[in-house]
């Protein structure tokens, strides 16, 4: 034994790399000065834009009076006209409002991701007679922050045999559509960051993009659980795109517009929610979207008791965190879309005159989110074939019939230009009755038996014995 202390060797080459790597601060110091300057400019610009927005919104300098905080959207719209008037061309207003919209969506979504996971865990705990997280901060409110910090510190493992690029991309690719889909959601009459006239098509197509990322994740992981989860997800999402599209087609038939803002305005001006007019579409949309976003009772893509974590089994650290965040954000997105299409969006039978409309939408969206949590705390999970059967044999035929019925109703409304409560009230009643009848009748047609509806419990043995006694009891001897 020499007197020299033996240097401790890290266990793996990767551990050596981590030791050699130094801290993030060292990395930042090593950056080229140009990159440093660009970063500083970007950070300052980011700060300046935020301050400017706050200044415009709070001070209301633009048209000379104290701004009504209820209508944040008007401030943006005003800014846009002001910028257009400066004569620099449309690109300036396009970029500025786009930047504002992006910042707004990101900060809103980020804030929600932090508070949303806390809400979900606390509520689930209440459903399950537990306490839930209550250690970090008051009422455990800082728990999501601690979780995020923990996830960021963790090492991102790449399994041997994984396709490195395809493994690297999906967490990012799945996050992008989850943000982009928020674009056309109208928060107030002028407050949609992407007020385009094909908003509904945009939402459907953007949300279906995440299938690709999930398939990439499952395929590149080189893991059978991930592959199974990805196969299930792709099959499920592709199948449930159709009922979702059909149920939204019905909304378009009645309102006559693909613009989300106009769909909400239609519901506001007619003082009726689509949920009352189109109960079947509402149910179809809600159920199908649970399949789209992998939540109970359709969380078969990540069925913990079967395939561990589905397509993101192999992901660790913040990459797994991004998948979880997307799942959470999508739940709120579906809540917001559900509110927009079926619950009157930012309108609330005149209440939007008194309360900021975006608050109304936020309340409705979180209500939808609450329902998702409730389902998760209550229901078991379907099997994949049952879920497929439900989509193809049940939802799609009935949705097509629903389109036919509503098309007739829309023709009646358009032909006689009927606008009153009588005609829409009768539509609502007819649709509700037809829904109840059709759901039950079609269930019988495709072979759903009453025995399944009320299964018999166990019987009491009147004797003790083996096979002979079993046969006697079975035959009633």
């Amino acid at each position: 034994m020499s007197d020299q202390p033996v240097p401790r060797r890290p266990a793996t080459p990767m551990a050596q790399q981590i030791l050699d790597r130094g801290s993030l601060l060292d990395d930042a110091k090593r950056l080229p000065s140009g990159v440093k300057a660009a970063g500083a400019v970007f950070a300052l610009g980011f700060l300046a834009v935020n301050v400017a927005i706050a200044y415009i919104v709070i001070d209301g300098r633009l048209d000379g009076h104290w701004y009504d905080f209820r209508d944040l959207g008007n401030a943006i719209a005003q800014l846009r006209t002001e910028l257009d008037d400066t004569g620099t061309g449309p690109w300036l207003s396009y970029w500025v409002t786009g930047l504002i919209g992006g910042v707004a969506i990101l900060s809103f979504l980020g804030g929600f991701l932090l508070i949303g996971s806390w809400i979900e865990r606390r509520l689930l705990a209440r459903f399950q007679i537990r306490m839930g997280p209550n250690r970090v901060g008051p009422f455990g409110l800082l728990q999501p922050l601690a979780d995020a910090l923990k996830l960021m510190q963790k090492e991102v493992l790449i399994p041997i045999g994984a396709d490195r690029l395809l493994f690297f991309l999906p967490p990012i690719l799945v996050f992008i559509p989850a943000m982009l889909a928020w674009g056309p959601v109208p928060w107030a009459p002028n407050m949609a960051y992407l007020d385009i006239n094909v908003g509904l098509l945009y939402v459907i197509s953007i949300t279906s993009l995440s299938v690709l990322a999930i398939w990439m994740a499952g395929w590149s992981s080189n893991n059978h659980y991930a592959l199974l989860g990805a196969m299930r997800t792709v099959a499920m999402m592709v199948s449930y795109e159709i009922p979702i599209s059909l149920s939204l087609l019905v909304v378009v038939l009645l309102t006559g517009s693909l613009n989300l803002n106009e769909i909400v305005a239609w519901q506001g001006s007619h003082n009726v929610w689509m949920a009352f007019l189109l109960p079947f579409s509402m149910f179809t949309f809600f159920f199908s979207s649970t399949a789209e976003i992998n939540r109970t009772p359709n969380d078969i893509a990540e069925a913990e008791s079967e395939i561990v974590a589905g397509f993101h089994t192999e992901y660790s650290g913040m990459k797994a965190g991004l998948f979880l965040a997307v799942e959470l954000g999508n739940a709120l997105l579906v809540g917001a879309l559900f509110a927009t299409f079926f619950l009157g969006g930012y309108t609330m039978f005149g209440l939007e005159e008194w309360v900021p409309p975006y608050l109304i939408l936020a309340v409705k969206a979180t209500t939808g989110y609450f329902f998702f949590i409730w389902l998760r705390g209550t229901l078991p999970r379907f099997r994949i074939d049952q879920l497929m059967t439900f989509a193809w044999k049940y939802l799609i035929p009935l949705s097509i019939a629903n389109v036919l019925i509503v098309a007739v109703e829309a023709t009646i409304a358009a032909r006689w230009e009927a606008e009153g409560i009588v005609i829409y009230g009768s539509f609502a009643l007819v649709n509700l009755a037809l829904t109840v009848y059709a759901v039950r009748a079609w269930a019988r047609v495709i072979g759903y038996s009453a025995e399944l509806e009320h299964p018999e419990g166990p019987r009491t043995a009147d004797r003790i014995g083996g096979l002979k006694a079993a046969r006697q009891i079975r035959t009633g001897a």
Partner: protein, 374 residues
């Protein structure tokens, strides 16, 4: 293959999925090697032994009383029942009299253990079916109270080590009896709550009805025991067929299933919980005063011979085969573990089923790996 004119047919080949030893639904360190074709299971191998502790060999070095703690660790979810099985076998071997009060106490604790174990079994079954642990945690509410009663009496919650050859280790403390009566009063309401919540739930019924069907003939050929056997409609319960302790004085029914599917096994367990409540109530009313154990020599030396003692545990017949050569330790100690034998049918049940069905079927068989590997 690309060059020589690719054909338009797609071909799929089976792949191997390794479920376990660490997996949420294998209920312990149990491994299944599944050959799958898409979502269908073509074949599976069950690989056990990850929890092997050489219990039977170790038992040959220890006295009969020293072996009681081993039975706690065999079926760690139903320690009382395993304790009881070993004690009954040893008592028959050594011809030890048990006081009546001890027999009543044994019945009370064995039935409490049955309720706790069935709560765990049903909870994990519904969890496997995808209800995100809510029913499990509700059922744990009652299980916790039962474990508190155990702790009150013998200081341990899972590994109770409570039964002794010739009686039970301790007299329950005075605060045990009011707590027990309170529990027995509220249990039927709780069980009704589960029935309302689960037995008519469309998704749960769709997941468990006609899944993993075991016919009465198959069940007997596979020598199944316990709720897995009764779920298939065979009215076999050792408490009725071969009464031990004071079960012959108790009035209770034996619930049996109709088709032998997962749902029937689930329902049988739920109904048995209700029957156990009835038995405990009768035992509380009928328990006499007196000593809670007879004194036996510290190193009990039974006469040479062999015995097979069995009790109806929560998972079925827990049998102990003891051979004595006249010494203080058993010459041969064998545990007939119900989980191991019930599990042997899984391969037949899971072939051709989907992965989801196999998971639910495994949950309905209700294995405890400590007992399988020993």
């Amino acid at each position: 293959m690309v060059g020589d004119g690719a054909s338009m047919t797609t071909s799929a080949e089976p792949y191997v999925l390794n479920i376990g030893p660490q997996h949420p639904s294998t209920h312990g360190v149990f491994r299944i090697r599944v050959v799958m074709d898409g979502e269908r299971i073509q074949d599976l191998d069950m690989i056990v032994g990850y929890l092997h502790r050489s219990m039977e060999k170790l038992a040959e070095e220890r006295t009969y009383t020293q072996n009681i703690p081993f039975t706690d660790r065999a079926d760690y979810l139903a320690a009382m029942s395993s304790n009881l099985g070993l004690c009954l076998a040893a008592e028959r071997l050594a011809d030890v009299e048990v006081p009546e009060r001890a027999s009543y106490l044994r019945v009370i604790f064995a039935e409490l253990q049955r309720i706790a174990s069935h709560a765990m079994a049903n909870g994990t079954l519904v969890s496997d079916a995808g209800a995100w642990q809510t029913p499990l945690l509700y059922m744990f509410r009652e299980r916790e109270k039962i474990l508190d009663l155990f702790e009150m009496t013998c200081g341990a919650r899972l590994t109770t080590n409570y039964m002794r050859i010739g009686g039970v280790a301790f007299e329950p403390p005075p605060e045990f009896w009011p707590a027990l009566e309170e529990l027995v009063d509220e249990l039927p309401d709780r069980i009704s709550e589960y029935e309302e919540l689960l037995t008519q739930n469309e998704i749960f019924v769709a997941r468990t009805r006609n899944v993993g069907i075991i016919s009465a003939e198959d069940a007997i050929n596979g020598s199944l025991v316990g709720p897995a056997l009764r779920g298939s409609g065979v009215p076999w319960d050792l408490r009725k067929a071969e009464p031990y302790c004071v079960y012959d004085r108790m009035e209770f029914d034996v619930p049996i299933g109709r088709t032998g599917d997962v749902y029937d096994r689930f329902m049988c367990r739920l109904a048995e919980t209700r029957e156990s409540t009835k038995i405990i109530r009768q035992a509380i009313e009928g328990i006499p005063d007196g000593p809670h154990k007879t004194d036996i020599p510290l190193a009990l030396r039974p006469p040479p011979g062999e015995v097979y003692g069995r009790v109806e545990g929560p998972r079925g017949e827990v049998g102990f085969y003891l051979v004595s050569d006249g010494g203080p330790a058993p010459y041969r100690f064998h545990l007939r573990a119900p989980s191991l034998i019930n599990l042997s049918l899984l391969r037949e049940l899971a072939r051709g089923a989907s992965l989801s069905d196999a998971v639910v079927t495994l949950g309905s068989i209700d294995i405890v790996v400590g007992e399988i590997d020993r």
